[in-house]
Amino acid sequence: MSALIRYISKPHPVSGVTNAKLGIWCFLASELMLFGGLFSAYIVLRGSASEWPHGSAVLNVPLATLNTLILISSSVTMVMSWASLALKNLKKFRFHLSMTILLSLAFLVIKGFEYHSKFEHHHFPSTDNFFGMYFTLTGLHAIHILGGVIVNAYLLFPGSKLYETEPEQFLGRIEAAGLYWHFVDLVWIFLFPVLYLL
């Protein structure tokens, strides 16, 4: 099957990058438009609202700060797993990718506690536009985290068999998964101040 898609381990002579990399960047561009639409909705809703709560008054800033630091750390371990694999250090690669997955799960658990406390205080997506935006943006982001966990877990366990036969292609997959993961981190870097600090 893999023979059908060419230039997945070597750069395409026209684009100068592998098709895998071109593909993931185009996907991320479409993702940017998805989140862009929601950020746009946020601007319109907040701009037209007579009252808009300050994020820190209704949301847990210390917990979100901790989550920000966790996500930044997971981005570092992700890029370190790629670098370790590029250096052909398989043990270090596995360690860093495992750490990335664990940090992602920690992020989701903390997010779960946050949601739980919101529900306990009867704050639901239907409560008002603020919570509507809060749950939509953080929920969509959390789904992206979950997607990243699934892909990274696949690449850590069954997917890593590819390294034995096609090491270059596998390195490309780790790089693509990493690009996606840094994008998810990037979205949070903007979500955090917009929802929690303003």
Binding site: K10, G16, V17, S40, V76, H182, L186, L198
Partner: protein
């Protein structure tokens, strides 16, 4: 980014650690600033400024954009234009 010497990657790793330290520091700074209770306009400007610096660090170093092929940059410039239109058009129509 597929052709790398061992030395180059070791150099990258040191950069990643520095970028991590910068991101962590900027996170603490942006939270600290939010406790100053600046006026809404100024608070939005400062928070987005810090977030943009953090985002640029992630894109430039973790996503390797500073050494990425031209075609990727062209795609992103095009995306950035559409992104700004998407973000600003409804807002302009609204106010």
């Amino acid at each position: 980014m597929s052709e790398h010497s061992q030395e180059e990657i070791s150099k990258h790793v040191r950069t990643y650690i520095s970028v991590f330290a910068a991101l962590a520091a900027l996170t603490i700074i942006t939270v600290a600033i939010s406790y100053l209770h600046l006026s809404t306009g100024l608070a939005i400007a400062v928070a987005l400024f810090v977030a943009t610096i953090k985002g640029s660090l992630v894109v430039a170093y973790f996503m390797h954009l500073i050494s990425e092929a031209k075609i990727i940059r062209y795609i992103l410039i095009l995306t950035a234009i559409f992104f700004l239109v998407l973000l600003l058009l409804p807002a302009i129509g609204h106010f």
